[in-house]
């Protein structure tokens, strides 16, 4: 099958009651092969999380795949109804807020047991398997933790439990949506270690969604930069951090705390409206490199999956630069 995930020109429309629809995801190209560890980065509101939900078939009921194509594991068209069994064993997700992700009414052991049941573990063995799983994630006193309820655990502990549930069915693709954003720094390191350990031992693919380039640098090999619902640049992490081709990538890297030597640089302006689909470059109003051609040339599809930049005037030559055509 080659590609675990293949999005080409994918767009998501959200229908609203008595209001015009929104287009939070407009044009995303994403190609993830078996074993790839890739990251989606961008400001909040750029459509990262919605893209992740598209990949797990868990879009809100009023959201639909509106344009382009999206294929999961080479066989599932994400524009269609998504079979329940695929989740868990094939693709699993780790969420941003670990405390609200756990069922407040059920014990930890019971909850992990549900995920294990979905992975085909027999009823009698679930409790023991849940404890073993917690132990394998270096959780001290796993039996005690299995007896507890979510409200008795700290955020970091909840996240490890959630990771245990996501990893229980040994998914081929792990989607991690800001997995460490709500954790303190020490816990963050532990959680990232856990994820890395799983990826190393299982050979699973990772899609990491984050606005934190430190975390991305730690786990991912390649990066797709998103802006206003579009993937604007894709390439190896080292290239994008050191020599970005898209002006937005450059500004994003500059604004990140990654470059501790320099003063953090904030990008002026705000994200454009998502009430219409933009055919031209969405970044041009904030871009320091913008020229007059940027506002009247639409950006076409990007051919290459090894690396691309969707910009008329990239900062460096790329194999898959976007060919422009007049609007």
């Amino acid at each position: 099958m080659g590609e675990v995930v293949l999005l080409s020109g994918a767009g998501i429309r959200i229908d609203r009651k008595a209001l015009p629809p929104l287009y939070p995801v407009q044009n995303v190209d994403l190609s993830v092969r078996i074993g790839d560890r890739t990251a989606l980065v961008g400001e909040s509101g750029c459509g990262k999380s919605l893209t992740a939900r598209l990949l797990t078939g868990l879009l809100p009921p009023n959201a639909v795949l509106d344009r382009g194509s999206a294929t999961l594991l080479g066989e599932f068209d994400l524009g269609e109804e998504f079979p329940d069994e695929v989740r868990g064993s094939r693709v699993a997700m780790i969420f941003q807020d670990p405390v609200s992700v756990l069922d407040p009414m059920a014990g930890i052991g019971v909850q992990i047991g549900r995920a294990l049941a979905a992975a085909g573990v027999a009823k009698a063995e679930r409790r023991g398997a849940a404890v073993d799983l917690l132990g394998s994630l270096h959780i001290p006193d796993p039996e005690e933790v299995a007896r507890k309820y979510p409200h008795q655990l700290s955020g970091g502990m909840c996240q490890r439990v959630a990771i245990a549930m996501a990893l229980a069915p040994k998914p081929d693709l792990l989607i991690a949506d800001e997995p460490t954003t709500s954790l303190d720094v020490t816990t963050e390191v532990q959680v990232l270690d856990l994820l890395e350990e799983y990826l190393d031992s299982s050979g699973a693919s990772l899609i990491l969604i984050s606005h934190d380039l430190n975390v991305v640098d730690r786990l991912a090999e390649s990066v797709t930069v998103m802006y206003a619902g579009q993937s604007v640049e894709h390439g190896p992490i080292a290239d994008i951090l050191s020599e970005p081709a898209h002006p937005y990538s450059r500004d994003l890297v500059r604004s990140s705390v990654l470059n501790r030597g320099e003063a953090a640089h904030s990008i002026a302006g705000t994200l454009p409206s998502i009430e219409n689909v933009t055919r031209t470059c969405p970044y041009r109003v904030r871009c320091s490199e913008a020229r007059s051609a940027c506002s009247d040339t639409s950006l076409g599809q990007v051919p290459s999956s090894d690396g691309f930049v969707r910009c008329l005037f990239p900062l460096k030559k790329m194999p898959g630069a976007a060919g422009g055509e007049p609007v």
């Binding site: 329940d84 979905a118 409200h151 008795q152 996501a166």
Partner: protein, 366 residues
Amino acid sequence: MALSTGPELDRDGSTGPPQGADEPASATRVDVFMYVARKLGSLVLVSVLVATLTFVVSRATADPSFLMVGQDATDEIIAARRAEMGLDQPMYRQWASYMADLVRGDLGISRRTFAPVGGEIFERLPATVELAGAALLLSLLVAIPGGIRAGLRPDGWIDRLVGSIAQLGAAIPNFWLGLMLIYFGFYWLGWFPAPTGRGLFALESESVTGIVTIDAILARDWSAARDSVGYLLLPAVTLASGVMPPILNVTRNAAVSVVNSAYYEAALSFGVPRRVVQRRLLLPNISAPVINILAITIGFLMGGAVLVEVVFSWPGLGSYAVAAMDSSDYNPVLGVVLLASVTYVLVYQIADLVTFAMDPRLRISR
């Protein structure tokens, strides 16, 4: 942020938690005991307060002796009567003896029938319980599955359908719906008996529970059961139409918030099948608000559905209180009020206890 790091790590990392981890069960048991004790205490307190209120009302409406002796009585007769009734005693004495009577189940004498009010209420209670139970059952059959289905797909066709039914039920006056059902069900179609109360006389065997339908089923007297259900159905539907909409709305909204919650989505993303998620995760998580509205509904129904009972000549507490009021007979009214209030508080406390027992966040402290 930085300040919270210390204790967070302690809770995470340490193998021997400091706060009595070797005896978590006993600590919890004390909590539960205290909780139940507090509930019982407040039940007693509220009952005393309600009884005091009915006492005040019974003394404030009019001098009961006045009402009993009639207009032509001389001052001597009134004084004798007052002494006989204990009304010449100081207020606190009167209050104490009123309370003592209540504890013995003595709710006074009806001045219309000259029978003890306690006995009359006890006689009519099964009718109210039967009607209330049937109305509650009908409401639940519609509201719980309907509310959950509606909540699973907000704005879907089921949501719109049950939403319209609920709105209609809430908007149509109860007594009017009752009259319409009588008109069509009895007069026009002839499917239902005349609104003359319960199907009491069909039952040949002895009454066990006092609830005719259940008695008939227990005695396997199917024709009597059919008969009593015939009498019961129209008033029950009428009553249910009023109490069902709030239950439906609460269930639906609770289901919507669970379906939109992160833990619902997460459980699906971990591969837990949808039907397991709906049964094991949705149901417990909507239980608290649903139990709460059920308690309110039961409390309301046990007060006697006055209008519905009157329209269908149902011999329950509501029509009893109305008949008593018509002849300025206060003891029955106060008795019904007292019973309704205490039932209300009792049901409410039970609901609280059930919620407490179900929700680990309340039951187990951090």
